[in-house]
């Protein structure tokens, strides 16, 4: 049992100048654990009256407090109640940092001191459907390949489908994988993957929380059809410099952060790099031609009553070398390859409460960001050079009033996209293909959250215009929630969505080697979707709820690359695809405020697409998908994680025979002359996605335990992916040159144990 002396730290309580006429003051602060982790759901009270609850970053703001010395009472589950005196300035703000001391959880923890969880807060206040919040601590406890991975955790959420183990991409409620809007502190991220989709791009230590909106999202979001993944950067609220160093089998990482002198500025920086290439170079004669690195920065500063935040990210994957150096001597080959891709993001946001605006308090948010994703592939030193670059420069803002019954908001978003897409050959002095696009997408939106009795209604509308496509669309949105009891609500939502940035890829390929993006223009249509969601959510206890949602979705004018396009014709590069999806998601969740947390997510989904009159199941059409995720934090400070996944097979196109392609030799007027080599033998496919892979299931485990050594916390961890070594089929390969013909399976992840160490200070 761990019972430590209560430690109270008031970090540099500084006041801001008085603002004319105000007769009250504000206390802003952050509540942290002894290890410096921010504590969500902690209650802030004065004189027994609840004034605030900390958010997922452990932050709170208590307003309208009487000036002078007051006693702030802070309580959080699993921590000792703490009181501290604070001098509240008249008309000003004081910043505090509260560190709570942990106590062993033996005193009926469920019912005594629980604060509201983020999920409960959402349940009580928001009509959102299909939402799921994952905290940073949960992310780190979910077993993964080598290290925690935000996107791989997202794959385990209800309504979300992972095509296979090798792909960190995901499909939401039957949608294609490019239909997910991924935001890092509000900045769009175009390709959040490393190593061809094997790993996600976010650094676990730099992430505070992840929110997924799987459908029915508000008018504030646009530009994608299927989902919104909102990734929030971590903020370190402690004074000084704190951080962690991590080593896994995959990479090394470093995260640093802290609060500057007056406590009004927090900063976090994290960086990561794979090291297998360096290891290979050190111990063998061989080159491992791949590594990736990334770095993420987040700085927040309280400015007056507002907060100015800066987020930046830089990541690169670099693959270079000679792939074919180890081949036999009967081939003349040594193709150099240079392949690099990565994201660069930078964004500023300013969020400021406005005390009185048209009679109510309000919040003003303004954002400006630049997001760039680029891919460059050079095969054979200029023999074939592919380059794709998409740059997204955007401004956005919103104003939200906080009334008693209404919370209306208006906002705008203007994005200038620059798309460069080129395929060329310096050596062959040829520009094979070139495309430049510069569309401007502008959106205005308005919505209101109206609370009346047991009903919460959020009507909204979003008007969007895409310049190059000469397209203007109106996207109505509606969400409502009716509380049958305080713990049971019925929800419904629906809306129309539009997407004008498209990733060109063959969705039927089982893995993302890379994506490249094009914008809608006069030839590439703006894709649309309409969805409707109906569900119910019931809280079985303070930290356990069950949610069932049925959804229906129709897609219009999806784009798919046309393999038979005419190079002389601009505009036939894509074929129009329509389709629909419907299904049901079931979620049982134990939120992360007790020793046991996790969720059971089951999804049933049916998806169909129609292209050129042919109806088929898209590759993401997995009918049944089950994920069970559990984290248990024992009294001995062990953290056990487990994940079990079960899914029915996804569709694939069967290979029915093989074609020997003959090459005509004009000099010999025959079909074998003109150089050697074997003839090309190509697969001949049957009906598109007409068969399905067998059942998929996998069980992962993890365990970690922190050890306190002087001023550091050492946490070694062990992860086992695919603990019982299930041979899940990745793809089939067919050989019709053999007699009798054969089919061989290629497996997904085998049993993969990994160990690592994290040192926090």
């Amino acid at each position: 049992m761990l019972v430590c002396a209560a430690l109270l730290a008031v970090g540099g309580a500084r006041t801001t100048p008085a603002q004319g006429g105000d007769t009250t003051g504000t206390v802003r602060g952050v509540v942290v654990s002894p290890a410096g982790d921010s504590l969500a759901g902690a209650e802030i009270r004065t004189n027994g009256v609840r004034r605030a609850t900390t958010d997922d970053r452990g932050r709170f703001t208590a307003r309208n407090l009487p000036p002078g010395r007051i006693t702030l009472q802070v309580r959080a589950f699993g921590y000792r109640d703490t009181s501290l005196p604070v001098d509240v300035p008249r008309g000003g703000t004081v910043a505090v940092t509260v560190r709570l001391d942990a106590v062993a959880v033996v005193l009926r923890p469920v019912r005594t001191v629980a604060g509201r969880s983020v999920e409960r807060e959402r349940f009580e206040t928001s009509p959102d459907v299909g939402t799921f919040a994952v905290s940073g601590s949960t992310l780190s406890a979910v077993p993964g390949l080598g290290e925690a991975d935000v996107l791989r955790t997202v794959q385990l959420l209800p309504g979300v489908l992972a095509r296979n183990d090798f792909d960190a991409g995901y499909n939401v409620r039957g949608g294609e994988s490019d239909q997910n809007l991924i935001l890092l502190d509000g900045i769009p991220v175009y390709n959040p993957f490393h190593l061809g989709g094997l790993f996600g791009t976010f650094i676990d230590d730099a992430v505070e929380r992840v929110d997924l909106l799987a459908g029915g999202f508000s008018a504030a979001h646009g530009g994608r059809l299927s989902s919104v993944l909102d990734v929030t950067s971590a903020e370190q609220g402690q004074q000084g410099v704190h951080g962690s160093v991590g080593v896994s089998l995959l990479s090394t990482s470093l995260a640093l952060g802290g609060a500057l002198g007056d406590g009004r500025t927090t900063w976090n920086v994290a960086a990561r790099r794979t090291y297998a290439d360096a290891l290979a170079r050190a111990v063998t004669d061989d080159e491992l031609p791949y590594h990736f690195y990334d770095a993420q920065l987040h700085v927040a500063r309280a400015m007056g009553a507002g907060v100015l935040s800066l987020t930046a990210y830089h990541g690169r994957d670099l693959l270079s070398g000679d792939f074919f150096s180890s081949d036999d001597s009967t081939r003349v080959r040594s193709g150099d390859i240079e392949f690099g891709w990565g994201n660069d993001l930078a964004g500023l946001s300013f969020e400021r409460p406005i005390r009185r605006l048209l009679g109510d308090s309000a919040t003003l948010v303004q954002r400006a960001s630049v997001s760039r994703f680029g891919t460059a592939l050079d095969i054979g030193a200029g023999s074939l050079v592919f380059a794709n670059r998409v740059t997204d420069v955007r401004l956005g803002g919103s104003l939200t009033w906080h009334g008693e019954t209404h919370a209306p908001s208006v906002g705008y978003e203007v994005a200038r996209h620059q798309v460069h897409y080129a395929l060329s050959s310096d050596a062959a002095t040829a520009n094979l293909f070139a495309l430049g696009q510069r569309p401007v997408a502008a959106a205005l939106y308005a919505e209101d959250v109206w609370k009346r009795g047991d009903l919460v209604v959020r009507p909204g509308v979003r008007v969007e215009h895409v310049s190059d496509a000469a397209w203007t669309g109106v996207s109505p949105r509606l969400a409502l929630k009716y509380f049958v009891t305080p713990d049971v609500a019925v929800t419904a939502a629906g809306g129309r969505y539009a997407q004008w940035m498209h990733a060109i890829r063959n969705e039927d390929l089982p893995i993302r080697i890379f994506d490249f993006w094009v914008a809608s223009d006069r030839y590439v249509p703006v894709s649309t979707a309409t969805d409707a969601v109906l569900g119910t959510e019931a809280w079985l206890s303070a930290r356990r709820f069950v949610r069932v949602e049925a959804f229906w979705k129709r897609y219009g004018r999806l784009t798919e690359a046309d393999s038979a396009d005419d190079p002389d014709v601009r505009g036939d590069e894509f074929r129009a695809v329509t389709g629909h999806s419907y299904g049901l998601d079931l979620l049982l969740r134990q939120v992360e405020t007790g020793p046991l947390s996790g969720w059971v997510a089951y999804s049933f989904a049916v998806s169909r697409r129609t292209k050129g009159g042919a109806d088929y199941a898209p590759a993401q059409d997995r009918r049944h998908n089950l994920n069970i995720v559990a984290t248990y934090r024992s009294a001995r400070r062990y953290v056990f994680g487990a994940r079990f996944g079960l899914g029915t097979g996804t569709p694939y196109t069967p290979i029915l025979s093989q074609l020997v392609r003959r090459t005509y030799d004009p000099l010999g007027n025959d079909w074998v002359g003109g150089g050697g080599g074997d003839p090309l033998v190509e697969a001949v496919g049957g009906a598109r996605n007409s068969r399905r892979y067998p059942l998929y299931h996998r069980f992962d485990l993890s365990v970690s335990r922190p050890f306190v050594k002087r001023r550091a916390i050492l946490t070694p961890f062990l992860q086992v992916v695919n603990a019982y070594n299930r041979k899940n089929v990745f793809i089939y390969t067919f050989d019709y040159e053999a007699s009798p013909p054969t089919r061989e399976s290629v497996s997904q992840f085998p049993l993969l144990p990994s160990v690592g160490l994290k040192v926090e200070f």
Binding site: F323, L432, E573, Q658, K727, A738, P741, V746
Partner: protein
């Protein structure tokens, strides 16, 4: 200037290569499992046919897609007279192959196997171009003039009754070939400039370079082209060099119709089996047209700056081996060095056959002596060691000792 095997087709190729590399890695790491026999596949007719007004014989290859019902003989050498059987195909014999001309005339092609004493040519249906051939010879009734600008129809009926049809229009060019002068071509410093006359009805112009690993073809819509000596073939596995030092490579320029162009610019995705553009009805393959415009060869050399490079004379070894070798460094791959070159045979009418090999970090060298300009025909392998002045070793198989002594640096 634009060239094709274009756009996304190339990218599909690259993606496929990437995925194939991943699968190769998966295979190497034991990720393959559960190999099992499956039912024979769905046999479809595959037809490859090109009308060439400059050629006397016109051929139509008729075969079936591979379904696992036939045992392939991988030991056969490529045989122009038996292209299907010798190149892993399943020929269709006894088919009725008819080519219809623009004025209603037609030719019923004759299967080579039925007229040849050696019974070669199963699935190879041949007819004569009456515009260039004085008479049908053994192909009685199988002749029709192949004229520039004319449209032809093809109808293939298999013995089982399967039907494949197609149409092609011959580019409107006179079949007069302008020679490309043969010359030494230093691929490190030279570029090859090609030009030709416009041809009405040509969909594209095919530039073809017969590299040792196979033909590298580009399809362009311009009337001239400049290609650098260092170009690699991004469409072939391993991205091999197009111009390989030591080899003599044929270069041709031809005008092609849309069927020809679409077939060779497209490919089936290896994982879905779709993507190939075939304008045939009822089967795979293509029925296209080709007019040869320019032809020639380049003798590829390279700048000499490494010790292994140079001219060697045989001082020890069987007389069946070439009397001399010319070796170049093709490229470096870590501690391995790819070697290419040619062998002196004494013939002045034929290009010297090629040599390829590998030199490792310990100066062990393996050289494969080829029958011609193709890596498909190895006639002997030498295992030896390079000591800075000589290559000493043995002939693989016989164990006969050999020594080739460097007599001068190549190209000097």
């Amino acid at each position: 200037m634009r060239a094709s095997r274009a756009g996304r087709a190339a990218l599909r190729s690259v993606q496929g290569a990437g995925l194939a590399a991943l699968l190769a890695t998966a295979g190497a790491n034991g990720c393959e499992f559960d190999e099992q026999t499956v039912a024979p596949g769905d046999a479809r007719l595959a037809v490859h046919a090109v009308l060439n007004p400059g050629a006397g014989d016109q051929t139509v290859l008729v075969e079936r897609t591979l379904t696992g019902n036939a045992q392939m003989d991988d030991g056969l050498r490529p045989d122009p007279l038996d292209p299907i059987v010798s190149r892993r195909g399943v020929p269709v014999s006894g088919a009725r192959v008819v080519v219809y001309g623009p004025s209603g005339d037609s030719a019923v092609a004759v299967e080579d196997r039925t007229v040849r004493a050696d019974r070669k040519g199963a699935g190879v249906y041949r007819f004569r171009n009456a515009a260039t051939s004085p008479g049908p010879g053994p192909f009685a009734g199988a002749f029709i003039p192949i004229l520039a600008g004319a449209q032809y129809r093809l109808r293939v009926t298999s013995p089982e009754g399967d039907l494949v049809t197609g149409e092609t229009t011959v580019p409107q060019a006179r079949p007069v070939v302008v020679p490309i002068p043969q010359r030494n071509f230093n691929r490190d410093t030279d570029s090859l400039f090609l030009f030709w006359e416009r041809v009405p009805l040509a969909e594209r112009y095919e530039l073809r370079f017969d590299a040792p690993h196979g033909a590298f073809a580009l399809y362009v819509d311009s009337l001239e082209y400049l290609i650098a000596g260092g170009v690699r073939d991004p469409f072939s596995e391993g991205f091999p060099a197009v111009f390989v030092p030591g080899f003599t490579e044929a270069v041709t320029v031809g005008a092609v119709d849309r069927n020809y162009f679409d077939y060779y610019r497209s490919a089936n995705d290896p994982f879905t089996g779709h993507g190939l553009i075939s304008h045939l009805d009822g089967g795979f393959g293509f029925f296209g047209s080709y007019v040869l415009l320019r032809a020639g060869a380049v003798q590829v050399t390279a700048t000499v700056d490494e010790a292994i490079e140079g001219t060697y004379a045989r001082v020890v070894g069987p007389f069946s081996l070439p009397g001399g070798l010319v070796l170049y460094v093709e490229s470096h791959s870590g501690v391995r060095t790819q070697i290419t070159g040619n062998a002196a045979t004494g013939s002045i009418s034929q290009a010297p056959p090629g040599v390829i090999g590998v030199l490792d970090g310990q100066l062990q060298i393996v050289l494969a002596l080829l029958a011609g300009q193709s890596i498909a025909d190895t006639v002997a392998v030498l295992d030896g060691r390079f000591d800075g002045a000589s290559i000493t070793g043995t002939v693989r198989g016989s164990g006969a000792p050999i020594e080739y002594r460097q007599i001068r640096r190549a190209g000097r």
